[in-house]
Amino acid sequence: MDLIFLKNYKQKFSFKVFSTFAVLIFLISLAFIAFFINLQHKSLYENLISNGENLIGVLADSSRIGVYSGNQKLLLDPVSGMLQQDGVQAASIYNTEGKQIIRLLKPDIHSNRELLIAGTINSNSDLKKTLLSGSPHYFEFRDRFEFWSPVMRKSGYLQEDAIFYNGHEQQPAEHLIGFAGIALDKSKLNQHMYDLFYRGILIGFVFLIIGFLAAFILAKIITKPVYQLTRSVTTLGKEGKFERVSVETEDELGNLAQAFNMMAVSLKNREHALQKSELKLRQLSYRCLKAQEEERRRLSRELHDGLGQTLALLKGKVRSIGRELYRDQSLLLEECEQAVQYIKQIIDDLRRLSRDLSPSVLEDLGLSTALRVQSREFAEHHSITESADIEEIDDLFSQEAQINLYRFCQEALTNIYKHAQAHNFSVTVKNEDGSVIIIVEDDGKGFNVSYVTGLAPDLKGLGLTTLEERARMLGGTVNIWSKPDLGTRITLTVPVPKQ
């Protein structure tokens, strides 16, 4: 449960906001409940004290005559009347010596219960000293309150005139004649407190639920723009699609949304510009490659038709000169023969060059055969062991695409020659699941692919770039795998165009 909470907390901003509000509301609820209960407790407590003080005041007043006259009958009514009051468990009256005059307990109270003082109040007790001070007092026990009050009487008339007329005498003095005590049950207070506590909990719980709901809604409202923004950013990042974020507020989030919208528009514009530029570049690249191909073809033609023929003529001439030489001109003859060999070599190289420039075998024998020939000739020329597994893919691509495929393999093989220092290589061409896969692999020294591909274009070298460009022109992808000392594998995957 904790893990789920932590996970949500880490991953969801709305959950963070909600949690913050929830904690706040929880603390406020707690504080409110505590304050409420404390306030109510204080109020109940004070009410109980006030009630007790009123009751003991009433008892002290109503028992004056009984205490004054020492007549227990006159105390019975006030004392038993006091027991009728809610919560009063016991009531008793004492004379000034502290001797009990009357003590009554509520019928349901056990007589052994220590309520008030049975018998005589100890003259040295704190109670007696407190009461002798002439003021009421109360004591709190675990299960009850005991309220005590002195019982006072007013002094008599000092003069005969005073018994006849009002206003004659001065304010009469008060004399202590006894003490009154009542025991007030605390259980009702405790009961009230329990009720209060549960009510407080309930109120707090309701408040909490409402608060959580409000926090949830608030969190949603606050984080909605963030999520909208996140969604738009994600869409922009993943799919490149720009979804405008609606600006609903004027605060920081609103500003952020606006900034995002502006940024996205700017990005979109730049992307368009980039795409245009890329398109131009590709078009340029295509034209370059095309121009290169045409130039190669022209050169091949010129080499083959022009220079080749001339060299063939030259070879013929030299040979015929050799035939004209005398036997004793063996040195010259040898020179001629050597010259013929040299010319033949040149012609062979020229032919090969011409072929490399514009492989006629591609037009004459088809792509698959051209690739085989290419692979074989490469192996022979560079003394590297070859392994070729080439399926028939002649009629799958256009002429232009075939040239690109041919050039791709050519370039891959050139890279092996230039960089790999390999002893073996293989060329695999297969037609699978609507794609043609060409794999050129070697056991050469390999290289750090991420390092090389991460280099700036001017440091990267044209080979890999050309491979990537050819693949792109074919509408395919190229994957280069290589590890130092483990060789290199170049995989070209090209979807077969629908006929």
């Binding site: 004056r64 005559i65 009984g66 004054y68 006259s69 020492g70 007549n71 009958k73 006159l74 009487r153 007013k154 002094s155 008599g156 008339y157 003069q159 005969e160 005139d161 018994i163 006849f164 007329y165 009002n166 206003g167 004659h168 009469p172």
Partner: protein, 311 residues
């Protein structure tokens, strides 16, 4: 003849007036209570002498006798018990007291002192309230023999004469009063409060009146003060009329018709031939709310003339 007689009478009245106007009287008052003032007003209404008022409650610590002797008045009035106590030491000036309760407890046969007692004879009180409440038979009284013993004897004989039953409870201290009343509950039809300082304390009065209210027992008091507190009726005095009565007494004395002088050893002593009196006029005060609460029938004539008091 008649004309001559008329002129002579007027002459004496005029001379009397001249005599009074030139005479000085010091009125010593216990306190500024309204009844005392009313009584003095009644006195002044009759006697036109110069009256100098001295209020004891405002003269703390002063020697009143010395002050009076300095003034050397023709007469001294003592209004209230305390005033009488102070002035009774004076023997050479006629003294008239009024508004004094139980003057016999203060005086000891001083010859120069006379006056009007506040006490209404029990017989008169009894006849008044038995007239007012003819249906009530048993009368309860609580008293301290040391204070009201003599009075009770009179009451008993008056009750017997009027065919009422007197239920009297003796008490020797204030604290015994509540118990005494409890004992009388159910045995009496009415409680008669006497002006007994042992019985009449603040605590006891409160208890008496409350108890009687709760037990629907009418209370007869001696002062309107208690009628206002819940007693049924009181038979009291008319302070102004007492003052007038004292004034008439003073007039007569000041005309020296009732003075004898004796000089034996020491200062001249005065003896008055005017005997002490009782108040000639009584006022019945009735608490009409108590009448209604207790459902008691009061005599119409008495009711008509009585002062009506409510809570």
């Amino acid at each position: 003849m008649f004309k001559k007689f008329f002129i002579i009478c007027n002459f004496f009245i005029f001379c009397n007036g001249i005599v009074q106007a030139g005479q000085e009287i010091v009125a010593v008052q216990s306190s500024n209570l309204k009844p005392f003032e009313q009584a003095l007003d009644g006195f002044k209404n009759v006697c036109k002498a110069n009256i100098k008022q001295l209020v004891l409650s405002e003269m703390k610590g002063a020697d009143i006798v010395e002050k009076i002797q300095d003034i050397d008045p023709d007469m001294v009035l003592a209004i209230g018990n305390e005033a009488l106590r102070k002035v009774r030491k004076i023997h050479d000036i006629p003294i008239i007291y009024f508004m004094v309760l139980n003057p016999q407890s203060i005086l000891s046969e001083e010859q120069n002192i006379t006056g009007i007692s506040l006490n209404i004879p029990p017989r008169k009180q009894l006849s008044t309230f038995t007239s007012a409440l003819p249906e009530l038979k048993r009368i309860g009284i609580i008293f301290d023999p040391s204070i009201s013993g003599a009075l009770i004897e009179e009451v008993q004989s008056a009750a017997a004469e009027s065919g009422k039953i007197l239920v009297a409870q003796k008490v020797h201290s204030s604290r015994e009063v509540p118990s005494a009343l409890l004992d009388m509950a159910g045995k009496i039809d009415v409680l008669w409060m006497l002006p007994d300082l042992t019985v009449i304390t603040r605590m006891n009065v409160e208890f008496l009146l409350l108890f009687c209210l709760e037990n629907k027992l009418p209370v007869i008091a001696f002062s309107e003060k208690y009628v206002a507190l819940g007693a049924l009726l009181s038979v009291g005095i008319d302070a102004f009329d007492i003052g007038r009565q004292a004034g008439e007494m003073a007039q007569q004395i000041l005309s020296e018709n009732d003075l004898t002088y004796a000089r034996h050893d020491g200062p001249r002593k005065i003896a008055l031939r005017f005997n002490p009196q009782i108040a000639r006029k009584t006022i019945v005060s009735i608490n009409t709310q108590i009448v209604r609460n207790l459902g008691i029938r009061v005599d119409d004539e008495i009711m008509k003339d009585a002062r009506k008091i409510n809570f």
